[in-house]
Amino acid sequence: MDFRELVYGQKPFEGVFVFDVHGHIGFEQGSQLGPNDGESMVHTMDRMGVDGICVSFSPGIRGAWKRGNDQTKDTCKRLPGRVFGYAVPNPFHAECDLTPYFEEDLGFRGVKIHGNIQGETPENDPRYAHAFELANRLKLPVLFHAWMPYEVDRAADVASRYPDLNVIIGHGGLTFARDRAVAACKRYDNVFCDTAISSAPDGSIEWLVDKVGVEKVLYGSDMSFFDCIHTLGKLALAKLSDTDKEKILGLNAKKIFDL
C-alpha cells in the first residue's frame, strides 16, 4: 500500500482497515456545519474507503442525554458495522445511567466525555464516576474532548484511577497540550491520542509518533465537524512508513474497540 500514491491519484483507501475513533452526528446549534446524519457520513466514508466510525450525538452532549444516546443507538442500528456509538453521560442528571446501552450489542463501543460544554465540568468530576466504572468494568475506550492542558491532565487522572479502561485524548495530542498528552501517554499504558484537529501543522503527527510511539496514536477525524478527508490526507502524505500509517489508520483502534 503506497498511501501517497492514493492521494495523488485521488483513490479511496481500499485494502487497508480504516477506523475513525472521533466522530459526531446530529445538528450543531452554534454553527452550520456539513451534512451530519449517519448516512451522509457513510457516503463520504465509502468514497474514501473508511470502514467504520465511532460517534456521539452532539445535541445530546449539550442537551437531552437520553434522546442523544437513543439517536446514536438508532444510527448504529441503521448502519450496522459502519457506525458505532459512544454513550454520553450528563453530570447534572443523577438518573443518567449508561448501562442499558451496553447490556446487549447495540453498536456502542465506548463513552464520550465533553465536560467543557457541560457547564465546564472537570473531566474527572465524580459525577462522571458511574460512566468510568462502567467503562472500566467492560474495558471500554473513553474519548475525552481535551483541548487544554488541564483537560489532558484530568483525563490522565481518570486513566490512573481506572486502569482497565482506555483513555483517548481527543485533539489533545496536537494542540496547546501536546506536551501534556505526550507525558500522559508515556506514563500510562491506557492513554492514547487521536489526530482530530484541523489546525495542526504538517509534521505534527510525525512528531507525536516520535514522542509516544506509533501504537499510541489513533486516527480520528472529528467528522461531521471536519471532513474526514482532511486528516486522512494528512496521514497519507505524512513522513511515516506505510506500516505506521496502517497502525494509526485502524490497526491500533481494532485492539481497543473490540472490532
Partner: protein, 249 residues
C-alpha cells in the same frame, strides 16, 4: 495530476516555533514538492510579526532567483512619514515584482476605512491587484462584508476561515461578488462541495497557511472533494492564476 498554487504561505523566521513544524524555507519547499504545489504566494514572517518595512524587503532577498515563490507585501498606510506613501509603495512593488498585498489591520493597528487605506485600495483597484486578509486574526467575518462593500472594485481574498462560518459567510457571498475564500482552514464535512453547489468554484482559492497550516490536508481536501475536475482545477490554480494574470503594475 492536479497542480496547485498556494495563495497563503509565510516565509522567514518566526518568533514562536515548535519542534517538528516546517520552520525553514527548505522544509516548505519539501512540503510543496510532496503535495505537488507548483508555486506559492508568500509574504514574510517579519512583515507580519514584528517589523513590516524590514520584512517586506527581506522577502525580496529570500525569494530572489526562486520562481516558485510569488511575492506579496504587507501593506501599511503611512501617515506622519512612518512608511512609504501609497504611491511609492506601489512603485516599489512594481520594481520588485510584487503582485499582491496583504492587509494587517489588527496586527498593525490601522483602520480599514477609506480615510485610512483608501489610497492603497484605489491603487489596488487601478492595478487590478488582489488584496489578501485573514479572517479571525485580522477582522471578523462581519467586518469582511464591510470591507467588500467599501472597496467593490477590489478583489478580496479572505484566508483562515474556520469550518464554523457558513451562517456568516452565506449572506456575504450572496451580496459581495468581490469576496473570495481561501480553502486551507475551511474544513467542514463536504464544505467544498456545498460551497461550489451554492456559490460556485470560482469564489474559492486554494491555500495552505504554511508553515502553521497543513499543506497535506489542504491538497487532499480539494483532490478528494466531490466536485468536477473542472471545479478542482479552478480552485487549485485557475482562479488565482486569473486574478494574478489581471494585475497591471
Amino acid at each position: 495530476m492536479l497542480r496547485f498554487i498556494d495563495a497563503r504561505c509565510m516565509l522567514g523566521e518566526r518568533c514562536i516555533i515548535r519542534e517538528g513544524d516546517p520552520n525553514t524555507k527548505e522544509a516548505i519547499l519539501e512540503l510543496m514538492d510532496r503535495c505537488h504545489i507548483e508555486k506559492a504566494i508568500v509574504y514574510h514572517a517579519m512583515a507580519r510579526e514584528s517589523e513590516l518595512p524590514a520584512g517586506n524587503m527581506a522577502l525580496i532577498g529570500e525569494t530572489a532567483g526562486d520562481d516558485r515563490f510569488i511575492r506579496q507585501w504587507c501593506a501599511l498606510p503611512s501617515y506622519f512619514g512612518e512608511y512609504m506613501s501609497a504611491e511609492d509603495f506601489f512603485d516599489a512593488m512594481k520594481q520588485h515584482h510584487v503582485t499582491s498585498m496583504r492587509l494587517l489591520p489588527k496586527t498593525c493597528g490601522y483602520s480599514l476605512r477609506p480615510h485610512s487605506i483608501g489610497k492603497l485600495m484605489d491603487l489596488a483597484a487601478q492595478c487590478h491587484m488582489p488584496v489578501f486578509i485573514d479572517l479571525g486574526t485580522e477582522l471578523t467575518t462581519d467586518e469582511s462584508y464591510d470591507l467588500c462593500k467599501m472597496y467593490p472594485e477590489v478583489d478580496l481574498v479572505f484566508g483562515n476561515s474556520g469550518y464554523r462560518e457558513n451562517r456568516r459567510l452565506g449572506p456575504i457571498l450572496e451580496q459581495c461578488p468581490n469576496f473570495y475564500l481561501g480553502t486551507g482552514n475551511y474544513v467542514a464535512h463536504c464544505g467544498i462541495k456545498l460551497f461550489c453547489e451554492y456559490y460556485g468554484a470560482e469564489r474559492l482559492i486554494f491555500d495552505t497557511g504554511l508553515p502553521t497550516g497543513s499543506a497535506t490536508a489542504a491538497v487532499s481536501l480539494i483532490g478528494y472533494a466531490e466536485i468536477s475536475d473542472e471545479e478542482k482545477a479552478l480552485i487549485a490554480h485557475g482562479n488565482i492564476e486569473r486574478l494574478l494574470g489581471e494585475v497591471r503594475l
